[in-house]
């Protein structure tokens, strides 16, 4: 397959070089940007499959940049791995809560970096692009981030959307709450497992008027499953 393109946004040249070296050795294609402005240009020029984003940047910080991208429809589901020297737990939580897919703290080994990059890419692969999923009349259009059934649209929050997207990409399969947190919320997030229940309920509630709530099934003691077959 064509090698994945990765954008490295990092102001310190030595670290940037180290990352580039590690990535290129593993056969990734790499673009670099020292600051937010350069990063915007780089993205416009060639859309990367993943962004390695330094938390601390001169001028517009990595956090702000990430939030900016998350708001824009075009870049909303661009996989982002935050790179930071901070170890503060609060920062970690904040970073992940704004939608980063993973989090790497300096110093890190190149093998760790590669592993995380691979993991995130692997997860975002199915349906990472503007794929539109359709299951039994339920249509999820990734390009417009919209879910419709027939001609009426289903109103979903961002998390519910990602949850449904995950389910529709992986139907007929049981996932534990932990796995769902990993793949829908992002790796290394610390949120209560029971939070999943709440979002499951919200998703069910949103799907109920259209009769699709039965597809989300509880597997007691294990987790949840998205299935076309009734219980």
């Amino acid at each position: 397959m064509a090698s994945k393109h990765i954008l490295v946004v990092e102001d310190e040249a030595p670290i940037r070089d180290m990352i580039r070296f590690a990535l290129e050795r593993t056969d990734f294609s790499v673009a670099e940007a020292p600051d937010a402005q350069a990063a915007r240009l780089a993205i416009a020029e060639r859309r990367p499959d993943l962004v390695l984003l330094d938390w601390m940047l001169p001028g517009v910080s990595g956090v702000e940049l990430a939030r900016e991208w998350r708001r824009d429809e075009l870049t909303a589901n661009l996989p982002i791995i935050l790179v930071t020297a901070r170890v503060d737990e609060n920062d970690r939580v904040r970073g992940l809560n704004l939608g980063a897919d993973d989090y790497v703290t300096k110093p890190f080994s190149s093998s760790e970096l590669i592993a995380r990059v691979r993991a995130v890419l692997r997860r975002s692969l199915p349906g990472g692009e503007d794929e539109t999923l359709e299951l039994d009349g339920l249509i999820l259009d990734a390009a417009s981030q919209r879910v419709t059934v027939g001609d009426t649209s289903v109103k979903l929050g961002p998390t519910e959307y990602r949850l449904l997207r995950f389910f529709m990409s992986n139907p007929e399969r049981v996932y534990s709450r932990e796995q769902m947190l990993d793949r829908v919320w992002g790796q290394n997030v610390y949120v209560e497992e029971r939070t999943v229940d709440v979002h499951i309920r919200r998703l069910r509630k949103a799907l109920a008027p259209h009769g699709f709530d039965g597809f989300i099934q509880t597997v007691r003691g294990s987790g949840y499953r998205f299935s076309l077959k009734p219980v």
Copy 2:
């Protein structure tokens, strides 16, 4: 909750004991092997959910063993964590390249070990492989945790499901109540042996409408057996 089974391949007894202690305290089920040959036997006897493999072993080294497993279709995606005293980055890369899922260097703390074990297990599917077992029309799909016969699905509680899964993975063989408690309930659990009888009955009752209850046979004085041949 059936605990995960972990095989520890390590020639130095003190280290092996330390690892075993740390794992068992965290409620993992542990098997040990001091060398490659013993490891092969242990895997044949009971397939582990994960292997902790020492790099340096007398005779056939851990690296060779890992490569051997990776070649065999049956063990190709068995999660492996390499344990080693080496810190050379080249070795690390070699280890990961031959398919190890993670890498621990001695000396390591038991908490680090546990963390890595958990992380690797989390990535692999719940219940090990997503194999689907089929015996004479009775289908058990591990991915969706569903049991079907024809197009109707069989309603099972969690314990009955695990029990049936155990039986279908090991048919034509008698197991004592004690063995079944170990493998289905998980070791370190204290429940009455008679409890097995009750769950056997529940499983039979669930399978009866489909005519599969005869497969679960009582072996008086020994235990139970799952067999396609009638008594």
